[in-house]
């Protein structure tokens, strides 16, 4: 066994051993990240200052945690943070698996032409703007709309679905799946394409049934992609966008629908305060990074796949 080296000795050895990797592969990327991602981070200081667009960053006075306090002590702090996490969580449970299941099923389609057509059609909603998608959701949810026709068909009573607190989240999540599963599945399909076909043949010869092949060959083949996407998804639980919710919610459904971003949006209508929104953004980032680190650690222990 070699004598134990100090950290720096090991580092120098490492840098020397992998110098080509470091110089040609790591360096350009690191430079990019430093210049375009880390340098602008000085802008985060305005979360602790009273920023005005008419002044330079360094000219503004420090105010400590004033903007954070304002956010934390706001009457709707727990509600908005709670809604954000709940909506993200529901999306994780229902929205996240949808493209995976779809990709697995599509993979079982034998006719290549049909497969291509299905794929092309299902990814179309990605190109339709959210405003149009939400407009359709609103008309489907109306009392004489499509959803109510289906509900009535199953013997339910017709209702203005978007006015109901109970229906908001299901509508939000389901419509997200509707508009997103096709596009979301593309990455899994490409991962599936990377699964060695020989394995299927070998499994078939060994007598594996279709479902078994799916579970023991296909799924493990795309598992790293699933895990990595899942970790990143968990790491963005605080980032529920405002655009879609703004188009679908009303004061009647604030209780279940008002998330951090929509609240900040409404505050911005009163007074467009960069410092406040930066502070809230920073708070979200911190929570996201904590969740991400946690998910990554768990995943490293359980599945061997991790971001770092």
């Amino acid at each position: 066994m070699a004598p134990k080296k100090t950290f720096f000795q090991r580092l120098i050895f490492d840098l020397n051993r992998y110098k080509y990797l470091y110089i040609f592969f790591a360096l350009p990327v690191v430079i990019y990240y430093v210049v375009f991602k880390y340098v602008p981070l000085y802008g985060l200081q305005i979360a602790f200052k009273d920023y005005k667009i008419t002044k330079e960053f360094w000219e503004c006075a420090w105010v400590g945690f004033k903007h954070f306090e304002k956010f934390f002590t706001g009457m709707y702090f727990t509600r908005t943070v709670g809604n954000t996490l709940i909506i993200s969580f529901l999306n994780l449970i229902f929205g996240f698996p949808a493209p995976i299941v779809f990709a697995l099923l599509l993979n079982e389609v034998q006719n290549q032409k049909f497969k291509k057509v299905v794929q092309t059609v299902t990814y179309l909603p990605h190109f339709v703007s959210l405003v149009v998608i939400c407009g359709l959701i609103v008309s489907f949810s109306a009392k004489d709309g499509l959803f109510n026709t289906i509900i009535a068909w199953f013997g339910g009573t017709k209702n203005d679905l978007l006015m109901s607190k109970a229906a908001f989240r299901p509508i939000y999540i389901l419509s997200g799946i509707w508009a997103g599963f096709g596009w979301g599945s593309i990455i899994y399909l490409s991962a599936l394409a990377g699964v060695d076909q020989e394995q299927y043949e070998a499994a078939y010869i060994d007598g594996a049934k279709r479902f078994q092949r799916m579970i023991y060959i296909t799924l493990p083949g795309i598992l790293p992609t699933i895990v990595i996407k899942l970790i990143m998804e968990i790491g963005s639980m605080m980032s529920v966008g405002s655009e879609k919710i703004l188009l679908l919610y009303s004061p009647l459904t604030y209780e279940v629908a008002d998330v951090v971003s929509t609240y900040v949006y409404r505050k911005g209508l009163e007074d467009n305060d960069y410092s406040y929104s930066t502070a809230v953004g920073l708070f979200n980032s911190v929570i996201n990074i904590i969740l991400l680190t946690f998910a990554n650690t768990v995943s490293r222990r359980l599945t061997d796949t991790s971001l770092w």
Binding site: P28, Q112, F127, G194, T305
Partner: protein, 294 residues
């Protein structure tokens, strides 16, 4: 090639699966069809209509004419094609290079670098510092302002890295034994095996500019440099701003502003749709790793 024999259960499954796929196609095709029908509808009929559309109302190409008559639209197409072409090449190069490094198991600094890169997905300095940076780098009002700051999408790079990692280490080792260097391994082995992923990541990058106008709006002043999306957005926005003028005196233009919105979606989307099957062919068919081994 093994010939698969199907059991009865297989047949039942396939029938249901096919039916499910058809159902999914129907529900996902609708939003786009709606946009298509709306864009082809007579503006006055369209705004007098409510709810879902099953066909264009009095088919007319008036909205498309209005969009295509805009003098800037062809400039927009040209710029967008440049941005997508050059931008996606740079994106893919940078992403592959970064993903390759991050997929290596050896280097000590890989993990800390990976962590610091991942963090940037969650923190952002905000609009103003980014704007000042672009200005200080002399990228302001150049088309490069839309390409260079977005050279790498961390998300895409992480996906790419995951794919690289899933390539069996044995393949790489045997290549190394044959005397292959880093570049050879990247280009000859890893990239060849990752073509489906590269195609998809390329698609993700290419679709980005097709769908975004925001940075163009901030970083460009010169109309000659506007990408298509910004041109289209300006058409929509400006029709919006005039709502009150038209409302009171020019009813027809007012109605038109609605169908124009839909026409712009079609105008913007069609090129990428045409491109898609070409990209698609790289990832619908499975790879035969064995064939590379031999």
């Amino acid at each position: 090639m093994v010939v698969y024999k199907k059991s009865f259960a297989d047949h039942v499954f396939e029938i249901f699966n096919t039916l499910l796929m058809i159902l999914l196609m129907v529900i996902t095709a609708y939003p786009f069809l709606y946009v298509l029908f709306a864009s082809l509808s007579d503006p006055n009929k369209f705004i007098a209509h409510s709810g879902i559309l099953m066909y264009p109302l009095d088919t007319t190409l008036a909205s498309f004419k209005a969009v295509m008559n805009n003098p800037n639209i062809w400039i927009g197409y040209k710029n967008t094609i440049f941005i997508v072409g050059v931008g996606t090449s740079i994106n893919l190069l940078m992403t592959c290079v970064g993903a390759y490094f991050l997929s290596r198991t050896g280097p000590m600094l890989k993990k800390p670098i990976m962590f610091l890169i991942t963090i940037t997905m969650f923190v952002d300095g905000g609009l103003i510092p980014n704007y000042i940076l672009v200005r200080d780098l002399n990228l302001y009002n150049t088309i490069w302002a839309l390409i260079i700051p977005g050279a790498i999408s961390t998300y895409n790079m992480i996906i790419m890295r995951t794919m690289f990692q899933s390539i069996p280490a044995s393949l790489e080792e045997s290549a190394r034994i044959d005397g292959a260097g880093e570049w050879t391994i990247l280009f000859k082995l890893i990239l060849t095996l990752s073509i489906p992923t590269i195609a998809v990541i390329g698609l993700f990058y290419a679709v980005g500019p097709w769908n975004s106008w925001f940075s163009a709006n901030i970083y460009l002043r010169d109309k000659q440099k506007f990408p298509l999306q910004l041109v289209l957005r300006n058409i929509i926005i400006q029709n919006d701003v005039d709502e009150m003028t038209m409302g009171s005196s020019f009813g027809n233009s007012y109605a038109m502003s609605f169908t124009i919105k839909y026409a712009t979606v079609i105008v913007a989307t069609v090129p990428i749709l045409v491109l898609y099957p070409w990209i698609q062919k790289y990832f619908v068919k499975g790879v035969m790793i064995g064939s590379l081994k031999g």
